[in-house]
C-alpha cells in the first residue's frame, strides 16, 4: 500500500467579489434588464405607430401611441384619469383584499373538510366561470346603488379564483412537510400559517396573481353599474363615443397599474420564493 500525501497550494480567498463588487454586478444585471425593457418597448411603440400610420385602418380606429399618449396626457392633465384611477384603485384594493382573506379561509376549509370539497368545492368551480355581469343584478338587489354593490361584484369576480388557487396549492403540498411540522408540535392555526401556507405558497402565489387579474376585469364590469367617475366608466364612455384613443389610453392606464402592482408586490414575492426554495437556479 502506498499512501502519498501531496500538498496542494494553500486555499486562497476565493470570494473574489467583495460586497461592493457584488453590488456593482447586481447593478449591471439590473441595467441590462432595464436596457432590454427600453429596447423592447421602444420597438413595440414604433411598430404600433407604423401600423397605425401606414396600416389599412384609419387612424381614428387604430390610433398610434402618439395619439394615445396625447389622450393619456390630456386625461391626466384635466384630472379625470387621476381621479378615476384612484377611485377604481381603492375599490380594487378593498375588493381584492376581501377576496384574499375570504379565499385563504375558504380554500383552507375546502382542503380540510372532504365533505365541503365535494359540495362547495364543486360549486365554486362552476361559479368561477360566471361572468361578472351575472352578479350585477344581485348586487343591485342586495346592496343598492352604492360602493358596496361594486365591491361585491369585484369580490365575486376574484374570490373563487383565490379560493381555488389556495386549495390547489395546499392540496399539492408535499405531505412530508406537514408530517414534520405536526411531529414538532405544530397544530391548528400554527400548522396552517407556518407550514401549510408557506409550503403551498409558490402555487398559491400563482392563484393570487390570477385573482388580481380577475379583480380588475370584474371591477371594469362592476363600474358600469351606474355612472361615477372611474376607469370603468372612462372606458365605457370611450367606447360609447367611439373614441378609440381614449379607450386605448384607459387600457394603457390599466396595464400600467397592473404592471406596477406586479413589480411592487408580486415580483418581489416571487423573487423571494425562488431564492429560498432554490428555484430557477438551473435553466433547462
Amino acid at each position: 500500500m502506498d499512501i502519498h500525501t501531496h500538498t496542494l497550494p494553500a486555499p486562497t480567498t476565493l470570494d473574489t467579489a467583495p460586497p461592493r463588487a457584488r453590488d456593482r454586478r447586481l447593478t449591471r444585471l439590473r441595467r441590462s434588464v432595464l436596457a432590454h425593457r427600453i429596447v423592447f418597448f421602444t420597438v413595440l411603440l414604433c411598430a404600433w405607430e407604423l401600423v397605425s400610420r401606414v396600416g389599412p385602418w384609419p387612424d381614428y380606429l387604430m390610433p398610434g401611441p402618439l395619439a394615445v399618449g396625447r389622450a393619456l396626457v390630456a386625461g391626466l392633465r384635466n384630472g379625470l384619469f387621476v381621479h378615476g384611477a384612484s377611485v377604481s384603485l381603492v375599490r380594487l384594493l378593498i375588493g381584492y383584499g376581501l377576496s384574499l382573506v375570504g379565499g385563504v379561509v375558504l380554500g383552507t376549509l375546502l382542503v380540510r373538510y372532504t365533505a365541503l370539497r365535494n359540495t362547495v368545492g364543486t360549486l365554486i368551480v362552476g361559479l368561477q366561470a360566471l361572468p361578472s355581469v351575472c352578479w350585477l343584478p344581485l348586487a343591485i338587489l342586495w346592496f343598492g346603488l352604492n360602493e358596496r354593490a361594486i365591491i361585491f361584484v369585484v369580490v365575486m369576480g376574484s374570490l373563487f379564483s383565490v379560493v381555488l388557487g389556495v386549495r390547489d396549492g395546499i392540496a399539492n403540498t408535499p405531505p412530508i412537510f406537514v408530517k414534520a411540522a405536526r411531529n414538532l408540535g405544530a397544530t391548528g392555526v400554527r400548522l396552517y400559517t407556518e407550514v401549510v401556507l408557506p409550503a403551498a405558497f409558490p402555487t398559491i402565489l400563482a392563484g393570487l396573481k390570477q385573482g388580481w387579474a380577475f379583480a380588475w376585469r370584474s371591477l371594469m364590469a362592476a363600474e358600469l353599474l351606474y355612472f361615477s367617475l372611474s376607469l370603468g366608466n372612462l372606458l365605457q364612455t370611450g367606447r360609447d363615443l367611439n373614441d378609440a384613443a381614449q379607450v386605448m389610453a384607459v387600457m394603457t392606464l390599466i396595464i400600467l397599474v397592473g404592471v406596477t402592482f406586479n413589480q411592487l408586490l408580486f415580483a418581489p414575492l416571487e423573487r423571494r420564493v425562488a431564492e429560498r426554495w432554490g428555484f430557477g437556479t438551473t435553466r433547462a
Binding site: 412530508i176 412537510f177 408530517k179 414534520a180 411540522a181 405536526r182 411531529n183 414538532l184 408540535g185 405544530a186 400554527r190 407556518e194 407550514v195 408557506p198 409550503a199 405558497f201 420564493v273 431564492e275 429560498r276 426554495w277 432554490g278 437556479t281
Partner: protein, 263 residues
Amino acid sequence: MSTGRALHLRGVQKTYVSGDRTVDALAPTDLDVEPGEFVCLLGASGCGKSTLLQLVAGLEPATSGTITVDDTPVEGPSSDRVLLFQDAALFPWLTVEDNVAFGLKHSTRPVDDQRQVARDWIARVHLRGFEGAYVHQLSGGMRQRVALARALATDPSMLLMDEPFGALDALTRDRLHEELESLWAATRKTVLFVTHNVREAVALGDRVLVFSPRPGRIVADVRVTLPRPRALEDVAVMQQAADLMKVLRRALDATTDDSRIEA
C-alpha cells in the same frame, strides 16, 4: 430534564393501499421498550423500519394493533416523541436557524431564549456560520445535521431516529455519536434508532432488533451489555458487530424473493 417513557406495541401491523397496489410493510409486531432504553433497528432495505417509526410517532395510523406510550394509546403526533426523518424533511422556506427553532416555538420560553437554544444546537452539529442559509444551499450531510439539531432542540422524551447519520463522514459521525451518547446519558431519553451500520448499532444501543425482509418482523432481539462509552473501533464492538452480522445475514438470506406485492 425529561425522563423516558415506556413503549408497548401489540400486534401492530401496516399495509399501504394506494390505487390498486397493496404493500404489506410491517407484519404484526409485538415490542416492549423500557423507559430510557436505547434500541437500534437493523433490517433490509424496504422491510418497514421507517414505517414502524412513523407509526410510533403517530404520523401514520396502524392498519391493526395497538401502540401505547406510558399506557396512553398513540393517536397522533406529539412533540414529546420526535421523529428524525430519513430524508431530513427541512422546511425550504425557512433558514437553518428558523428550521431549528421551529419546534421551540410552541414552548413558553421567551423568544430570545429560543433563538439561543437554536444557535447552540447549530453549533453542536458543527454548522456555525450557516444560520442564515436556506436548505437548497446545504450539502446532504449538512441537511441531516440541521434535522438532527431541529429534533434535539425540542428536548423530547422519546427520540425516533431514522438513519440520522447515514450521509455523514466518519469523523463528523464520531463527534455526533459522542454528542448523542452524552445527551442520552444525561437525559435518559427513550431512543429508537434505525441504522444500516451494524457497528453503529452495537456502539450505541442497549438492544438491537433485527427485522426480516418485507413485511418486516422482529426476528432477533439482541441485548448489548458492553460498558459505555463505546467507540466504533473498539475490538469488543467489532466482535459483537461481526456476530450480529451473522444473525442479520441468516435473517435476510431466508427470504430472497422481493415480491410480496399484489397488483
